[in-house]
């Protein structure tokens, strides 16, 4: 009897383990005239960065990577930091994911969304509201981040400064002034 019951169980497992679902779909859609954040992943990269800014004279533009709109070497009294500007489609992976990824890179534990919101310094720039995060691990002072996240209409702008913890504190004021100076290229202001 037990042998038969086990056989029954095995037959059910064998029959139902096969995935026969159709996982391929096709459809047609009219070409999107205005690819907004409703279709974040297909946002086309602009030929130029699409933004203007005013940087301190000491900051040196560097080549960076093709994913960056711009990169700067940012000197301070005991070294130099790396500043990058990136524009990603939609929310760029989300506030929580990005902040926790940066926290992980400097050895800090992840935070919940509410904790992240509480950590943020909120402000308003030419581009709209922004959130500034100061990410410093006091046990690993050699690398820290100062980041500004600006949600735009169809994308998110990430301005990130990577330097030592001392460098971050020294550069914070210049970094904020720089972030506030960023405007859309066709902006009248």
């Amino acid at each position: 009897m037990i042998k038969n019951q086990i056989t029954f169980i095995l037959i059910v497992i064998a029959l139902l383990s096969c995935d026969s679902g159709n996982h391929t779909r096709t459809y047609h859609l009219p070409k999107a005239k205005n690819k907004s954040f409703i279709q974040p992943a297909v946002e086309n990269k602009k030929e130029s960065s699409g933004f203007t800014w005013e940087k301190p004279n000491l900051w040196i533009p560097t080549e960076g990577t093709s994913m960056r709109l711009a990169s700067f070497e940012v000197p301070y009294s005991t070294g130099s930091g790396d500043l990058s500007i990136m524009e990603l489609g939609g929310d760029g992976g989300g506030l929580e994911a990005n902040v926790n990824r940066w926290r992980g890179q400097i050895g800090l534990d992840p935070l919940t969304k509410i904790e992240i919101e509480n950590e943020a310094e909120n402000g308003v720039s030419e581009l709209g509201t922004y959130q500034l995060f100061r990410l410093i691990n006091l046990e690993k002072k050699e690398s820290a981040f100062l980041t500004v996240i600006v949600p735009l209409r169809s994308s998110t702008l990430f301005i990130k400064l990577n330097a030592s913890a001392d460098g971050i504190l020294e550069l914070e004021e210049d970094f904020k002034i720089f972030c506030l100076s960023i405007k859309l290229e066709n902006s009248n202001q």
Binding site: M1, I2, N4, Q5, F8, I9, V12, I13, L16, S17, D19, G21, H23, T24, R25, T26, Y27, H28, L29, P30, K31, S36, F37, I38, P40, A41, V42, E43, N44, K45, T65, S66, M67, E87, L88, G89, G90, D91, G92, G93, G94, E96, A97, N100, R101, P110, E117, N118, A120, N122, L127, G128, T129, P151, L152, R153, S155
Partner: protein, 374 residues
């Protein structure tokens, strides 16, 4: 036939499966601490086969519950001694348990969770899934219409070869990464790497406990295109520039994105309102005044926190919002669950069954203990 019914409807099967489910619940609960809720749910409860320690195959939660469902169905249908008036309570309890399992099945097969983002003044009929991804290939050659061929996440496993009559090439999946990070290459890539992978590589990251923190990526090989487009490509979620290729004079875009579901109705955001806690940037309450548009007929609805919109099996909750320089957008969490009411109904039915069974047993109890009767 009788023999088969006797085997399949044996109460012993129910006992084995309920014990095994208890074991899975313990394992799944413990695993949540290390791999997070979603991954644990997938591994222990939604899987047909669960690999213990990555090497030992054991029945997963889904198959266990299917066996239990078959067993209970046979018991209810063919156990003659259940269909007696004195067993009415037990029978009702069995039917309640069956409904619970059927509800679970409906949820497992048909439920989905995602979000819908709508700008003020705009409308949308699209839900982006929270968890499932899709590889989308768009033929953009036509001036008016884009032709989409979409492969869902379950077939994006390593080694799978994807093909479709719409595509004049094959795609071989080299790897699907649950969480990854694009890193700049420090050495030149081989000649067979194309597109983004010429300058970047996708570095695997340990999956986050919260699944929506992961950034999935995929590397794939285009073959049989009969052109120089054959080669290895890569994509990651949120990539700002889609991978493009021209194959046999057809323009293609390749994107990995959250699985999209198009609804048979649209929601138009008329107005978004938010109230913030004084002196903070934290929202106290927010609401969306929307038009639910079906067959061209709009119906005005207010979606507030704890006041969702329910329509055609979907429930739209006010989830979040986005503020941009040119206006606001609402984020609605869209949940579809046809089995939503089953747990409530089956719990009520099982309670009634239990009550009847107890009531029926009272005279017996009183007879056994005469002092109570006095």
């Amino acid at each position: 036939m009788k023999q088969i019914i006797k085997i399949v409807s044996s109460p012993k099967i129910f006992v084995y499966t309920i014990i095994w489910l208890m074991v899975l619940v313990v394992l799944g609960t413990l695993a949540q601490r290390d791999i997070g809720l979603y991954a644990s749910q997938q591994k222990y409860f939604s899987a047909n086969i669960t690999w213990l320690g990555g090497i030992i195959p054991v029945p997963g939660g889904r198959i266990t519950m299917i066996i239990m469902l078959v067993n209970l169905t046979f018991m209810v249908l063919f156990k003659q001694n259940l269909w007696k008036i004195k067993k009415i309570g037990v029978l009702i309890m069995h039917i309640g348990a069956l409904l619970l399992l059927i509800g679970g099945g409906l949820t497992a097969i048909f439920s989905s969770e995602g979000n819908m983002v709508i700008e003020e003044g705009a409308q949308s009929n699209r839900v982006d899934d929270y968890h499932d991804m899709e590889l989308t290939i768009i033929n953009t050659s036509n001036e008016i219409l884009d032709k989409y061929t979409v492969f869902d996440q379950p077939i994006l496993g390593k080694g799978n070869i994807l093909s479709h009559e719409n595509l004049n090439f094959n795609i071989e999946i080299i790897s699907y990464l649950r969480n990854c990070e694009p890193l700049k290459r420090t050495a030149p890539a081989g000649f067979h790497y194309k597109g983004m992978l010429k300058n970047f590589r996708l570095s695997t990251l340990r999956p986050e406990k919260e699944n929506n923190r992961n950034r999935p990526g995929i590397t794939y090989r285009i073959t049989n295109s009969g052109s120089s487009s054959d080669g290895i490509y890569g994509l990651f979620l949120g990539q700002s520039v889609p991978q493009t290729a021209v194959i046999n004079n057809q323009n293609y875009e390749f994107i990995i994105r959250r699985k999209r579901t198009y609804l048979p109705f649209a929601i138009e955001l008329l107005d978004f309102k938010k109230v913030m806690h004084t002196g903070t940037g934290i929202a106290k309450s927010y609401s969306s005044e929307v038009n639910l548009i079906e067959n061209g007929i709009p119906r005005r609805v207010l979606i507030e926190m704890n006041e969702p919109l329910r329509h055609k099996g979907y429930t739209f909750f006010q989830s979040s919002f986005i503020e941009g320089p040119e206006g606001e957008a609402t984020v609605l969490a869209a949940v579809k669950n046809y089995g939503r009411s089953f747990p409530y109904i089956s719990s009520i039915i099982m309670s009634i069954g239990l009550l009847l069974h107890l009531l029926k047993s009272i005279p017996k109890l009183l007879q056994k203990n005469p002092r109570v009767a006095e």
